[in-house]
């Protein structure tokens, strides 16, 4: 599969935007400006980016507690996301959800989710709706290696398989569920191999190579869209930071951390782009700088936004 200049530069823009968002969130959290739990996607940008580049607006995703990257890659609005992190009433959830619950149903983003694995059946149900409505839409379900051990994984993949639902399950294997390493939480090297239990295709790819992710996702999404049912894609990656901000991640081997930092997906893509002569280093720097500027603007927007008023507690419980 030959990717165009526009595609690769688009990936670069998305990935640097996610990175800039996350590093800013880290900084703001450390400065005590963001309440609650904040789980960052830094290091894993290639996954959301490569997958979501295959999606249209009508398609759906379900995300996780580590959701900023998915949301940005699916087209989520940076300023509304940032305002939500700050708990402002201009935020995506009017300050009611916070980082773990950002959603944009109109963009097909069925929410970050604070419950590990909960997105799996939700994605399955959204795929049932797509199939039933015959609207050509597909669903992508993101989740972690840890979530691959939840019962929801099993029930969802089985259900999607027997009903041939248009859904792609994307296991983001960053090798950790908080402090628990994959080698202690499962006895198989590749989560992708679990696809065999459901009679669906499963493939493991280098999750730090956005092109590999894009290609695997393209195939799976095409399969889903053409009515040939679900797939499982495992993307091997690494989270650069602690589980949540504030976690010093003492359980990580510093050597392994260092080795993975060298596999950072962003410089890797930059090198590829430069090699292909799609852009110069300076042009890439400009993309990064623009991303940072967009994030700065979002922070300004958030900080200038009103905080909710106490009575807002009572609204939005029920639809009329």
């Amino acid at each position: 599969m030959k990717l165009t200049k526009e595609q690769l530069l688009g990936f670069y823009k998305t990935m640097t935007t996610i990175r800039a968002f996350e590093m800013k969130a880290a900084e703001l959290f450390a400065a005590g400006q963001l309440p609650g739990f904040v789980h960052l996607y830094a290091g894993e940008e290639a996954v959301a980016t490569g997958v979501c580049a295959n999606l249209e607006q009508k398609d759906f995703i379900t995300s996780t507690h580590r959701g900023h990257g998915h949301l940005i890659a699916k087209g989520g609005k940076i300023d509304l996301m940032m305002a939500e992190l700050f708990g402002r009433s201009t935020g995506y959830c009017k300050g009611k959800g916070g980082s773990m619950h950002i959603a944009d149903v109109d963009l097909g983003i069925l929410g970050a989710n604070g419950i590990v694995g909960a997105g799996q059946p939700i994605a399955t149900g959204a795929a049932l709706a797509c199939k039933y409505k015959k609207n050509g839409a597909v669903v992508v379900c993101f989740f972690g290696d840890g979530a691959s051990n939840r019962g929801t994984f099993h029930e969802s993949l089985n259900m999607a398989s027997i009903w041939r639902l248009p859904v792609v399950y994307v296991a983001e294997n960053n090798m950790w569920g908080i402090s628990n390493n994959q080698k202690n939480h499962m006895n198989v090297a590749d989560i992708a191999d679990r696809a065999g239990a459901y009679g669906i295709p499963g493939v493991a790819v280098d999750g730090n190579d956005v092109i590999a992710v894009y290609e695997a996702a393209a195939e799976a999404i095409k399969r889903a869209r053409s009515g040939d049912g679900p797939s499982l894609i495992e993307c091997k990656t690494w989270r650069h930071r602690g589980h949540f901000e504030g976690d010093p991640a003492i359980y990580k081997d510093p050597k392994e951390q260092e080795a993975w930092l060298k596999k950072d997906p962003i410089p890797r893509l930059a090198a590829k782009i430069i090699e292909l002569k799609y852009a110069s280093r300076a042009e890439l720097d400009k993309i990064e700088a623009d991303a940072e500027a967009e994030i700065e603007a979002a922070v300004k927007f958030a900080q200038a936004s009103p905080i909710p008023s106490p009575e807002d507690v009572f609204t939005d419980v029920y639809a009329e």
């Binding site: 959603a103 059946p121 399955t124 149900g125 089985n158 259900m159 027997i162 419980v317 029920y318 009329e320």
Partner: protein
């Protein structure tokens, strides 16, 4: 009006709504050609076909969770959980997804979904197939909780539940399924949140729901013979709860007995008692009595299950205690 059983009436409610709105579909374990474990969905598979009446694997977590996703993506699913006892298997989906999605998203999602499930003892099905767990769902803001006691209510509340844009837990009592009654034909909607006086009375208010309405009505008959006039109030939906109707009835009778089949501690009867004690204290001239199952699991042997269940005599005794 047509004579139908409770099961037929609920099925008719689903059928009419499925005809009315192609986005309504029904799925669960053995709801297809088997017609559901208790026959409530019989014939719907034949009528609506395998795309709209779908047998699922034994995967309650995925059943409930997928209903959330399907509803968020534009359908109006009816998911059946074969026994309310199995709701523990999908409580996260109910508690943390269905009930909270709209709020967490700042009001930007609608979840028009119904989870149908049968409750109740009386068939020696023992501790894991006989429970009444409605109180749990009332303690989860974001859900509505419906418990019809008659065929007509079953049909009309089902229609309302399907049309509602919120997740509704619709609890059918196994002992009522074969009970007949007059039911309006065609489209028929009983609004959620409106209690129904199943019998007027002036001396004591008995609040009961689901199967216990029948027990309360029987008790009221017997009490009438002794000259005690009992009003039977059926809230029909526990959430939203018709507080006005409750306070109005207690205001009239000044005495309250609450009857439910669930175990006593933490049952929804406590909520009603607390409500009346908080907002209608001056209306009361006697303690509020609760007639409920005891705080034990549900035993198997008929004699034990009989001793376990609230019944006419226990209700009468509670009323006598107030006079």
């Amino acid at each position: 009006m047509k004579q139908m059983t409770y099961a037929e009436a609920i099925r008719d409610g689903m059928r009419v709504e499925m005809k009315r709105d192609p986005n309504v579909l029904l799925y669960g374990e053995d709801v297809g050609i088997f017609g559901g474990c208790f026959g409530v969905t019989a014939g719907l598979f034949e009528e609506f076909g395998p795309e709209r009446v779908i047998d699922t694997p034994i995967s309650e977590t995925a059943i409930a969770g997928s209903a959330v996703g399907a509803a968020a993506a534009g359908l109006r699913p009816i998911a059946e959980i074969m026994f309310i006892d199995f709701m523990g298997v999908c409580m996260d989906e109910i508690l943390n997804q269905a009930a909270k999605m709209r709020y967490m998203f700042g009001g930007k999602a609608k979840l028009p979904m119904v989870v149908r499930t049968p409750c109740g003892a009386g068939m020696s099905a023992a501790a894991q197939h006989s429970q009444s767990l409605e109180a749990w769902f009332t303690h989860i803001p974001g859900l509505k909780v419906v418990m019809p006691s008659t065929p007509a209510d079953g049909k009309g509340l089902m229609a309302a539940a399907i049309r509602d844009d919120n997740p509704v837990i619709f609890i059918e009592h196994k002992q009522l399924l074969a009970v007949p009654g007059e039911v309006p034909e065609g489209e028929y909607v009983v609004p959620l949140g409106k209690a129904d006086v199943k019998r007027e009375g002036s001396d004591v208010t008995i609040i009961a729901w689901s199967w216990m309405v029948q027990k309360a009505l029987a008790a009221a008959e017997a009490l009438a013979a002794e000259g005690i006039s009992a009003e039977i109030l059926d809230p029909r939906t526990l959430v939203p709860l018709d507080k006005e109707a409750i306070l109005k009835s207690v205001g009239k009778t000044n005495k309250l007995v609450i009857v439910h089949e669930a175990v006593k501690t933490g049952g929804f009867g406590a909520e009603i008692a607390a409500l009346v004690c908080e907002e209608g204290f001056d209306l009361l001239d006697a303690p509020i009595k609760r007639v409920t199952a005891p705080d034990t699991p549900i035993p198997f042997a008929p004699v034990l299950e009989g001793a376990y269940l609230p019944n006419e005599e226990k209700i009468i005794k509670a009323v006598h205690d107030l006079f």
